[in-house]
Amino acid sequence: MSQLSRLLMSGNEALALAATHAGITLGTGYPGTPSTEILENFSLLGGNAQWAPNEKVALEVGIGVAFAGGRSLVTMKHVGVNVAADPLFTAAYTGVTGALVLVAADDPGMASSQNEQDSRQYARAAAVPMLEPSDSQEAYDFLFTAIEISERWNIPVMFRMTTRVCHSKTVVHSRAVAQTAPTPHYERDLPHRVMIPAYARPAHRRLREKLRQIAEWCETSTLNRVSGGDDAKTGIIAAGIVFAHVREAAPNAPVLKLGMTHPLPYKAIRAFAESVERCVIIEDGDPYLEESIRAQGIAADTKQEMYRYGELSVQRVQRILNNDVSPEPAPVPGKPPQLCMGCPHRVAFSVLSRMGCIVSGDIGCYTLGVLPPFEGIDTCVCMGASIGVGLGLRHALPEDEARRVVSVIGDSTFVHSGLTGIVEMVYNKPSTGHLLIILDNGTTAMTGMQEHPGTGRKLDHSPGGKLNIEAMCAALGMERIHTVDPTEDPEAFERLVKECLASGEVELIVARKPCKLAEKRIASYEAAAAQPQECESNA
């Protein structure tokens, strides 16, 4: 039971509170800006939350919880959905017994991401419903609705957050009564759970029928509402954070705000478009609403191509409405982020840079090694790509260049997507060999120092099973493994890199030194783990 209260909280905090009030059985995910704080806050509120090694595993665990009749919340950043796409598309076919809500946090403008892909395309492609909150209140309210939809139609539901909804703090009124989740139990149901072709064919038809029913329900749902002014000259269709910009940019315009962006309520949209002289669709990211709505033969103006890039704002909405495609004022550049002073990665990048290596990099703090003074990374594509891309370079380049190729990956990223890279490295060894450096700083630093299987601590920093990176790589067939602290003797580190590049074998250096920012915390978690009895007796 919770009290109805007025709170000031971020969208991520509001989602976590809703997860608590809605009786989420298990929250799981992989850290990624801007989604990370959802599970952290859920855990702080007493929720059952855990990090998975990657988004695919997280979603699979979430599917299992929902198969068991529980309520599962799975969180990730937009690019995480790429990793989780395989289970997502078929979980849409199997459906679920309980609830499965997949939160995808998009990052239009790429405040902290490698691309600005639009998760609404996934909802359409996987054929699952999608809700889009525009502030913390809706992040809170819509989670209950997402669970209702998921349980009523036995279908996974996607939940699109964006950076500004995740991280902006706005006022939330929470519910007075918390819900209790149904007690999980197992019911055998082979045709709905085992996707062999004979069972998958009817499953696909069932899925489309569910979507048809949800679209019909959506036509009259309060998720979609008309608000704003009553000047029927211009009406605007918007969703998510863009709705907030629109209300401010055009206070007199009626606005059809879509809380559900897949499937779309086309009857309501057509009625709205016909009720105004000029209807304008304003959306961030891809022209998703534009293409969907226009394909129905509904006449509407849309944003100009230049506004596809970056996040929208009050001014940009005004410019879209005015068909203004003149150049926008360039922001004055601030101070870029950099590798912290005392960061152990600095040593590694100084050495690689000095040696003229071709560095196949990866996703994490160390991607900042691309900036001056190091300029020590040559490629960065996606989680885990450092190894495969590095191997590809080795296979294709002339020998003298191939010998300079080094793959560099962080510890959390390695656990996320690096294991199969090691297998490839051992299995299809390039003729010049290869060198992989795992920069193990003992934490998922970039997203705010989260735990991962390699730290041996769980999401709440309590002790958990520990993945031994060297033992695992050895088991995968990696024979030459060197573990060093690169900061202890940078010259010795440089000599080791040289030797590894000269050997013509596949070599692994684990450069291990805790993150400067995480050092003290890690020590305190270790101290706490050493005295478990004391904590328990206080509980």
């Binding site: 902006s168 703090k169 910009h245 009050v314 922001p331 101070k335």
Partner: protein, 173 residues
């Protein structure tokens, strides 16, 4: 007072910009206003530029302050003025550490007289002299956002900033 008050706080990662905007947002929230606060996280801990928007009033729509619409721009690090100046209204007030020269005084041995980590709260004290948020809510917001051991010192720098600025407010041009 304006329908919506727009404040941008800016500085470098590690200076407590986000903490300061949390305190301001909470104080406005406790005073009963609608509040929205927004910034970009992620890279802020890596020493780069950080700016946070706080808006409060009867009803706030967008969490982001449009260019040229900030009534107050509070800068914790002088080098960050240029990167943020465009957000300020023509009649807006730029508040920099120059407003509190006493804060940067040093003892004879060169050590600071005040813990520099409290610059963010001291600057909020200055800002508070211009805003229609009762002092009790400011104090409650500071209390909710700083560790207990540092509370007394933070309250002190806040109140010094506030009272000195209240005396000087009419003289700023």
């Amino acid at each position: 007072m304006h329908d919506v008050v727009n404040v941008v706080l800016a500085g470098l990662g590690g200076q407590g910009v986000i903490k300061a905007s949390d305190i301001l947002a909470e104080a406005a929230f406790l005073a009963g206003f609608d509040v929205k606060k927004s910034e970009i996280h992620g890279m802020s801990q890596r020493g780069g530029s950080v700016a946070s928007d706080v808006r409060y009033g009867r009803e706030v729509h967008s969490p982001m302050i449009p260019r040229g619409q900030a009534h107050y721009l509070v800068i914790l690090e002088r080098t960050q003025v240029n990167a943020n100046r465009a957000v300020l209204r023509e009649d807006g007030l730029l508040i920099t550490p120059d407003f509190i020269p006493y804060f940067e005084k040093e003892n004879e041995d060169g050590t600071p007289t005040t813990d520099r980590r409290m610059l963010n709260v001291a600057m909020l004290g200055v800002l508070s002299a211009y805003l229609d948020i009762p002092e009790e809510h400011w104090l409650a917001a500071v209390k909710a956002n700083v560790p207990v051991r540092a509370l007394e010192a933070n309250i002190k720098v806040f109140q010094t900033g506030r009272t000195v600025e209240q005396a000087l407010a009419g003289t700023r041009g």
